[in-house]
Symmetry: C2
Subunit: 257 residues, 2 copies
């Protein structure tokens, strides 16, 4: 009795088909970063749609960070190299819309940075270790040269650790979350009254982390990294959220209730 199994059809917009095809071409490597798409007029020919449709597709591709187009460019839209911008915007939007608290963001950084240090302690190459040392040296020099340079050197250190972890996903997420957190507290960090003391203490903590990474003691490096992060940011996190952060720090085994 039962006839052939039909599947429900969903009407798919014309511009979506275009997006799919271009996306596929980029992900398959047929179109690589730096290359140009045909001009809008060519595209309307190739897809046999109107220019408006082509443009809507290009807007979507641009919103996803895959291409960029400028007026007057005799070549078509440019295929962009991957960048975590889209990821970052999604997370930033998540943070605002979903009401992510600073505490949750810092906690996430503690998790990521701790794990990155754990892995880096085991997997680092001598060259990566040298990068970390150089970054700390830059931090020392920056103490007298202002907070901006200090922050840049600090970034370089955490980046080097993230790279040494050997996990690109960790690396990118560290970068994304860091920039969101900084966006939330940068002004307060820069205005801190005892800024120089903060920087010096931060450097000392980073040196301890580096020593653990150098020794290959992953668990220690992870613990120190989490504590460093906590010390640096806890003051900006509402007191009510701090216990959740401390749950990531060393604890004398389990605390019975």
């Amino acid at each position: 009795m039962s006839g052939p199994r039909f599947e429900p059809v969903r009407t798919v917009r014309a511009y979506e088909r275009i997006v799919e095809q271009v996306e596929e071409a980029i992900e398959s490597g047929a179109l690589s970063p730096g290359q140009r798409l045909p001009s809008e007029r060519d595209l309307m020919g190739q897809f046999s749609v109107s220019r408006s449709t082509v443009r809507e597709a290009l807007r979507v591709l641009q919103a996803r960070g895959l291409v960029r187009s400028r007026p007057g460019d005799p070549n078509g839209a440019e295929v962009l190299p991957f960048s975590p911008d889209a990821l970052q915007r999604s997370m930033a939007s998540l943070a605002r819309v979903e009401g992510l608290s600073l505490g949750e963001l810092v906690q996430f950084r503690m998790v990521l940075d701790g794990s990155a240090n754990l892995l880096a302690a085991r997997l680092r190459t001598p060259g990566q270790l040298a990068e970390m040392e150089a970054a700390i040296e830059r931090m020392r020099e920056a103490v007298t040269r202002g907070y901006d340079e200090f922050s840049a050197a600090d970034l370089a250190f955490h980046d080097a650790v993230a790279r040494a972890s050997g996990n690109k996903l960790i690396q990118i997420c560290v970068e994304v979350v860091r920039s969101i957190v900084l966006g939330l507290v940068a002004d307060r960090l820069a205005d801190a009254p005892d800024r120089e003391a903060l920087m010096r203490r931060s450097i000392r903590h980073h040196e301890e982390v580096l020593a653990a990474v150098r020794d290959g003691d992953g668990p220690l490096a992870a613990r120190l990294a989490r504590r460093t992060m906590y010390d640096y940011y806890a003051g900006y996190v509402p007191a009510a959220e701090r216990p959740a952060l401390r749950a990531l720090l060393d604890q004398p085994h389990s605390a019975p209730e």
Copy 2:
């Protein structure tokens, strides 16, 4: 001599201004999920731009997962509740374009799931503990009822743990990365010859994790969770990548080389 400090100007597209304004309205709460935007015709009046420009803006908003529009809808575009879809697409695209290996994804899951368990062990409520127990019970029942149900129950367990961590960012990332990993290995998992034995072993591991969470022993729960994940997925990860995964498992302090 130096005149007033002029700032570089960047020409900003008309549709971008529209996107900004609508985005701002949504993030500020002036527009909340379920509400409707004015119709495209109204919008072209309010922004005094053409229809095409309005539509390009709507395409971008739609691509970012903020609104949805259907033909024939007597109301305008619908404001959507936040969903991690955009985040997930960004990460999935990241995984393909950037060539993320299965090993890196599994490693990331080990990090997230381990941390979620660590936090859950300290912060869980009795209700959340009951959810975890119920999920494991569903896993037991599902052993004889097929892999799909088992997988769903497994998902429920990890979700309950992630919720109990109290960190929405961890929760969302766990969900996103899990679905990407499953997309890569689902077929191989389903076709495993000794599927039932795998399921039984997985249940045993989950029970151990749950016991640690119940006891409030965070570090133990984290270690067990990472090991559970490793045992379940390591077979699908190329042997060359496995040492990086094992770097996240317990190690007798540091292994001198």
